[in-house]
């Protein structure tokens, strides 16, 4: 998997691309950690439009991003998850901690 990023006015957007599973999670976590530390962003968006698969490893990754952002006094949220990623997030109850911007329905 790949992570591209964009930064504007204190908002860091991380574009998650490919398949997020246990195999790819460690590299992804390190990349996110680095991006957040460098940018000191107050807002962090995890954009999932390019994510073709996510399992519970993604939940650990979201929680990590939440923890890091909260430590910097900021907040994190999710945008554009696929149906599959949304099901995993709903099952885990993560939206009680990290909000998911709604406008989904794509496969």
């Amino acid at each position: 998997m790949n992570i591209a990023s964009a930064y504007e006015n204190g908002k860091l957007t991380l574009y998650l691309q490919g398949e997020l599973d246990h195999h790819s999670a460690r590299t992804a976590m390190r990349a996110i950690e680095q991006e957040l530390e460098q940018s000191l962003a107050r807002e962090c968006v995890l954009d999932m439009s390019g994510l073709s698969f996510m399992d519970s490893s993604g939940i650990a990754l979201i929680l990590k991003a939440h923890k890091l952002t909260a430590a910097q006094g900021g907040k994190v949220w999710i945008e554009h998850p696929s149906r599959q990623a949304l099901r995993v997030m709903e099952t885990s109850g993560i939206e009680r901690i990290v909000p998911i911007a709604q406008e989904t329905g794509k496969e």
Binding site: E19, H23, D55, S56, A60, S82, T91, S92
Partner: protein, 146 residues
């Protein structure tokens, strides 16, 4: 029990094989004409079970994982993932949501996802001998006129 088709796979517990395992089962399941949602559920459940074997059954070594998928009567896809790793000392505890021994990298949601994404989940484990996870998911007949 009537088995109309099956596959059997064997692979080492390397994390790079997680993607292969879920794709192989999804490709096999395609003959039942599942919806995108059913296929997504199957891929996710397989990914969780295989990851568990890689992370917990063989924590410090590379062992073998056996995967079997069968199509049973009534359009039921049954998936079995077996390892000869260290086993789960307390299955009930391991299946609790958020329970994990995997540290910050794991969410403790693996069994919860397997349970809610399939119709049936059975876990058998013996410490020192290994674990067998069996999941079944019925693939619905799609409405005509789709």
């Amino acid at each position: 029990m009537n088995v109309s088709n099956y596959i059997k796979l064997e692979f080492p517990s390397k994390s790079v094989n997680e993607g292969y395992a879920r794709s192989a089962v999804a490709a096999f399941a395609a003959q039942l004409d599942p919806t995108m949602e059913e296929l997504g559920d199957i891929r996710t459940a397989v990914s969780e079970a295989v990851t568990n074997a890689i992370v917990h059954a063989y924590p410090d070594s590379i062992g073998t994982i056996w995967l079997k998928a069968r199509i049973l009567e009534g359009r039921v896809l049954e998936i079995t993932i077996r390892d000869k790793g260290q086993g789960i000392p307390d299955i009930k505890q391991a299946m609790q949501p958020l329970y994990t021994t995997g540290g910050e990298e794991r969410s403790g949601m693996g069994f919860t996802i397997m349970e809610s994404f399939t119709d049936k989940l059975r876990v058998r484990s013996a410490p020192g001998k290994g674990t067998t996870v069996t999941m079944a998911r019925r693939i619905r007949v799609r409405n005509a006129g789709r």
